[in-house]
Subunit: 135 residues, 4 copies
């Protein structure tokens, strides 16, 4: 069991019926924040950086949005709030946009291909989480 | 002219028709992030902290969401993206939730009263910004 | 009186002898975080983005470090902790590095010139704050 | 190989001789940011929240500092900058302070015990990283 799982387990208010989706969502958000941060920096190191400006901008925005969404999700106490649902929705849209752009460059650049995967996985995990929220 | 205004002015891609709303939105997000951060810490210093737990949690979430929304808004290059609209929406809902909670404590605690004002101002500024986005 | 000042004023534990330095430091950190965020995005919009890669990277790092330093400073309750001193030191060094790089491009690009000013102001405000910390 | 490792591997400028320390440092920072975020929320849910105020404050600060340190570390391009060293030092001190406080409550609360472990691991990983920086 990872330290994060131990922490969520030890929380005085157990996460309720959507604990599995929540854990997966947190992990996907944090991973996507990391891959987007590396991808922006990697794109800045490419010789054709000019063609990657839009990708860098989306990576930076996506990293921020994933980070804050993941952080909200790690606070198990109010996982069913409407504002959390709206934040998850923003994360889904951000990840789709960033994933689409990264995919366009994925054939030539491995970092964009892996980042596109992480974006898709995060969008999916956030949608699963939204489906698991108590209405 | 503040340094932020000078920066936005010097950006190679001018912000377009919604520059005034954008500036106001950035300022409101940053102010709300600050007031929520102070409010959480101030609530933690109150003798009846037990009654303020929900307020602290909302303050912390609202601070994060406002910070990331303000950061996205300070990148003028893609202010009309759908993901930005979704992030603004999340910020509106977060600020309304936090503002409502702070208002409940506003009579007894000045910091909650001022924070409630900042939350309402931020929600309004984000809604104005959403209205000004090119569809 | 700004909302931030009202908040710090309403905090149950007044900030102590270094309130003026603290307010200035918070404001400088937040302003520098904003200008660095805009500067990175503005540099990405320049035709010679290739020459600005290092500036963009420093802007991004500096924005993050200023944001977290400003956030720690807005929690008045433990402003004299050794870890805060170390964070202020990191912010000083980051702002000096970013300010030097921005200055190199300041003649050709107004956004770099203004950002360099904000970096210097923030480094100075953090140093003043360190000097005002109770040892 | 995790996605983060794949990303660092695919970066156009390989991380140099300190890649192993860097990966461990990033992972430790991100894990500590997560555990501190959960620990603050878990402490807020305890019946004796009054006694945990200091722990909550340190958790919140530590989460922020670890997050930004981990983010700077995930940009492999300038890992030897003096400002990064200073940020790692701030992270070490923050993690030591938070770990000490969490440990005081670790017998009674599992979340504080696990969080203390994560803080110590992060402080160690940051110190290892500082030792591996090219001078």
């Amino acid at each position: 069991m990872s330290r994060l799982e131990q922490m969520l387990d030890a929380h005085p208010h157990p996460a309720g019926p959507n604990g599995a989706e929540a854990l997966r969502c947190i992990q996907a958000c944090m991973e996507c924040a990391e891959t987007c941060t590396v991808c922006a920096d990697a794109c800045l190191g490419e010789s054709k950086v000019q063609e990657l400006v839009n990708c860098i901008r989306l990576n930076l925005d996506c990293a921020e949005v994933c980070r804050v969404t993941g952080t909200l999700m790690t606070r198990p106490s109010h996982r069913d709030a409407p504002a959390l649902r709206a934040q998850l929705q923003a994360c889904v849209e951000m990840c789709r946009a960033c994933g689409d752009e990264c995919e366009r460059h994925g054939r030539r650049m491995k970092h964009c291909a892996v980042c596109a995967e992480a974006c898709r996985a995060c969008a999916d995990a956030c949608e699963m989480m939204m489906g698991a929220l108590v209405p």
